[in-house]
Amino acid sequence: KMAAAGGLRRAGWRLWRGRAVVSKGSQHYPPLRALQASAALRRVSDEHKKEPLTSSSQQHFDSPPAGHQPEQKPQGPRPSYTGQGGQESEDYESEEQLQHRILTAALEFVPEHGWTAEAIAEGAKTLGLSVAAAGMFHSDGSELILHFVSECNSKLSELLQKEQKLVQLGEAEKKPIDEFLRDAVEARLRMLIPYIEKWPQALSILLLPRNIPSSLNLLTSMIDDIWHYAGDQSTDFNWYTRRAVLTGIYNTTELVMMQDSSPGFEDTWRFLENRVADAMTMSNTASQVQSTGEAVVQGLMGAAVTVSNAETSRAVR
């Protein structure tokens, strides 16, 4: 019964996220086009359909040669921030998919141009499109950043899924909770390293009121993923406290990383270790306090009973 309630709560969390995401996606539905040969939208050939859903985030760190990117398909089960892929007229890729391709291509220009429309324009150029295609996106580059964050989150959950499979197959040891959390957050933060110089700019853009719903959405889904793979089965208030705590750890570590100049970001990882350890002790202390509290109450109750018994016995005598 408890497990069902927890499952429902988790489902509710995802439904809320899903709803917010789908309503965005519906705006992107392209009109039905009759037999127009598209200039830039490519045919999704049969071969690519048979291929397993490759993660488009693989493209990240191996800089793709221009024009040779394999067809990207939107992630199936995980809702990306753009929502469901738009309607596809026959076998042509949708506008959404083309936009994904452009943004992925634009990432390699971010270290030079920052998270701006210029990076997107350069990315479009490498795909053989006109630089005016950058006009499809907002001029402050927020879509590029959100795309990047969502890709990182997908990579992280794949990583965690793979680890979980290894544990299930018995090929690896199940990590203790603090080590698991530490490794997950470290893996996720390491994805920022190639863009670390321009990341503060990205953070400030993500905090613009217009972008807060999407960025918050992505953050909470990532934290939720980490706890899910950590094996969190809680169904009580702990569910919320755990996520709040991990969000706090993640955000503070990210900020420390921005100012860290130590080799290999050692200071950041040590900071992370300390924060996770703090969180663990805090939860122990909390349960200790609880049990101490209970003991005190019981003591008081016992004392009250003793006193009343003594009174009664004196009264009787």
Partner: protein, 310 residues
């Protein structure tokens, strides 16, 4: 039986009327009917009349624009170029851009973006030798527009003349070309331009669908179509005020300033005849553009439509 025969005759008469009417119309004039302001004319007549209108107004075009819109048209055109956000290296085709307003704004914008780019590049390259710095200055000084170019195309020779004079007067020397051409049949190759703009011009095109198809043809894949045009105001109160201003004030201004009541009457009427925002959006989509959207300025007095060739 007689009643039935009467019905039958009447039906035949009804059926034959449309065909007869078409034949009659065809006999009267060449080509299908079109609107010229609130008049009804043929396609050929419409083209001629519009050519004459702009021939007459060309010299006073800018002055009239300022007085009719109380100078707000400058803001509208600025917003158009800001929305375009052109990246240095962009090739722009400005159709019906006779007096060059959009072209000049484009050049200014690209020049300032290019300056920012160069400044940033310098900041990054802090450890260059003097020789390298000198060489990069030379290269970049000569390329202040970053290879961006504008081609101004107009069907009307007079408007182009005024535009060229303005360019000389304001000191625009590089990045501009002036071409005489018809929006319905552009004298350019396929897949050439990054951006196609038509500001307050598409209203005067006789076959809008042909113009849109030509726009699609000459744009590169990924290229953008932008259209700035008077559109329909949905707010009823504002609409009445706007009508009052349009029909009572503007032709009078036309007579007083340019000495030409009829041309400005035409201008105002043509705005009313132009399809509203959603209809124009559908037409643009029919031409093959994707991600078509429009932005109302001043409650719908003017609208910017944007589409991409994807």
């Amino acid at each position: 039986m007689a009643a039935a025969r009467l019905c039958w005759c009447r039906c035949r008469a009804l059926l034959s009327r449309p065909a007869g009417a078409v034949r009659a119309r065809r006999g009267l004039a060449a080509g299908p009917e079109m609107h010229f302001g609130f008049q009804t004319v043929t396609e050929e007549e419409r083209r001629e009349k519009i050519y004459q209108v702009f021939e007459n107004v060309a010299k006073k075009y800018d002055v009239m624009n300022d007085s009719m819109t109380l100078g707000i048209h400058r803001v509208w055109k600025d917003i158009l170029v800001h929305k375009m956000n052109p990246y240095p290296g962009t090739l722009l085709l400005d159709v019906a851009g006779g007096t060059g307003d959009i072209a000049f704004r484009f050049i200014n914008y690209v020049r300032s973006v290019r300056q920012h780019q160069l400044q940033r590049k310098l900041k990054h390259h802090q450890n260059l030798s003097w020789q390298e710095i000198f060489e990069s200055y030379q290269k970049d000084e000569l390329n202040s527009l970053g290879d961006s170019q504008v081609v101004v195309c107009d069907i009307n020779r007079e408007m182009l003349k005024v535009g060229k004079q303005k360019a000389q007067h304001l000191g625009y020397t590089e990045g501009l070309s002036w071409v005489l051409g018809n929006a319905e049949e552009l004298p350019f190759d396929d897949d050439k331009f990054d951006v196609y703009t038509i500001a307050f011009g598409i209203r005067n095109v006789t076959r809008i669908d042909l113009a849109l198809q030509e726009a699609y043809r000459v744009l590169k894949p990924g290229g953008r179509f932008l259209c700035l045009e008077f559109s329909h105001v949905s707010n009823p109160l504002l609409s009445r005020l706007y009508d009052l201003y349009s029909f009572q004030v503007i032709p009078v201004l036309g007579e007083v300033i340019a000495g030409d009541w009829r041309s400005y009457q035409y201008l105002v009427e043509s705005i009313r005849q132009f399809p509203p925002q959603e209809e124009l959006k559908a037409m643009i989509e029919d031409a093959g553009f994707f991600k078509v959207d429009y932005e109302n300025l001043n409650f719908g007095i003017v609208a910017i439509h944007s589409g991409f060739k994807l």
